[in-house]
Symmetry: C2
Subunit: 219 residues, 2 copies
DNA sequence: TCCAATTTTAGTCAATTGTCAAAATTAGGG
DNA sequence: CCCTAATTTTGACAATTGACTAAAATTGGA
């Protein structure tokens, strides 16, 4: 059984430098993440990041050429971690396609109850509307998630044409993301997440199994 | 057949004053909305709102005591419009519960393809995490939407215990909101929204009809 | 010990923020 | 058409904040 926890950041070690430098780099990103989560994107200024990390403003500029680069690195570290987790679940050896689909649902919905995810992703959705880099990096993440879902759906219901599999993957992915707003960290329905997970698994699996090509024609 | 369009703002007329004043009030809110939609919450400053509405900064303070009050009024005008639309659909005379549920799904998903909704709501979700007023007013909206869903579910599947109806209403509502991120205005899947609507209607109706109390026990 | 890596100090410079008081203009009932 | 209340403009305050930089000081570790 997989552990269903997505690490906050996945940072690729930078070449050269001391261990202290590696720590500093990571520490800055964690501070920025913490600010975004606890105080929103308006709080994401170099001054506040420096204060939060107990460092000096000048030092941020030693690690990152600009504020934009810092944010890019942060986004990348968060998203890379998700991509890795998804891959692990999707390719779990010896598990049936249906079991892996259920595991993916569990992972995503579990993660949504996390403070980081509940707060961070809505910020990203908003930012993506006005920042091309964030928009593209988010699209990449969701594309990969859908490709994985697609494979599983294909294994479970091979009859379904590929374009309809895509719509179904989209529907499942979007449904899960939507729970963030209602059943995320400290949201009124957070306590009901286990029930939601059960319901989601049942609903999605049934949908994938029972769907026929004709079902997509509007009534 | 209802028209499935939610007006941008519903403004309760203020007592006294000239017609010009009423227009000015509404014009300011529209400008603020437009800024938020096109440039994000960071652009929501009194000066930019004044510029956008072709007015003077001082005049904003004549209509609104403070920036905070302006934002409250804006949020209220947007949300009130939704509440009215929901009520109309839910209580459409002569339509079966199933038809009204399908109409509600159509309304919400149709609205999601709107530029206003696609851009405004993610901003609100993010802001709600750090602004108690926005949080509360949003909760109110979603609570009312769920109460309505709940009634319809009860009519369609009376066997289902009330607490499980609530979870189901939550799941349906959240699923629809999640589509904002993927199939909203100018999103890559916007063109597939008609298919998504068909799929959502089928999936939700089937779920409501077929669900039994035992289904909520975890596997 | 010594050099490269990291951190601090101490700033620049420009731009912006919400709010307000008072004067100027306009609306529209009488 | 006049007069009062409603609306709009003017012009400013006072304070804060933004990203970024150069050079000096400190530290890591081979």
């Amino acid at each position: 059984m997989t552990n269903f926890i997505v690490p906050d950041l996945k940072i690729t070690p930078r070449p050269g430098g001391y261990a202290r430098g590696q720590d500093g780099f990571e520490h800055i990103l964690r501070s920025a993440l913490s600010l975004l989560v606890n105080h929103g994107s308006a709080a994401l200024t170099l001054r506040r990041i420096a204060a939060e990390s107990g460092m000096n403003v000048g030092n941020l500029n030693y690690y990152f050429r600009s504020k934009e680069e810092l944010i890019r690195e942060l986004l990348n570290a968060v998203i890379s971690s998700y991509e890795e987790s998804f891959d692990e679940i999707i390719h779990e050896p010896g598990a049936s396609a249906e079991a892996r689909l259920e595991n993916l649902v569990m992972l995503v919905l579990e993660d949504i109850t996390t403070k980081k995810t509940t707060r961070f992703f809505p910020e990203l959705w908003a930012m993506a509307n006005h920042d091309p880099f964030i928009h593209d990096r988010m699209s990449e993440l969701y594309d990969r998630a859908r490709v994985s879902l697609n494979e599983l759906i294909g294994e479970i219901n091979p009859e379904l044409p590929s374009d309809q599999r895509e719509i179904l993957a989209l529907f499942i992915s979007g449904s899960m993301e939507g729970m963030t707003v209602f059943a995320g960290y400290q949201k009124p329905w957070a306590a009901q997440m286990p029930m939601l997970q059960t319901l989601a698994k049942k609903s999605f699996v049934q949908l994938v199994k029972s769907l026929r090509a004709e079902d997509f024609k509007a009534a």
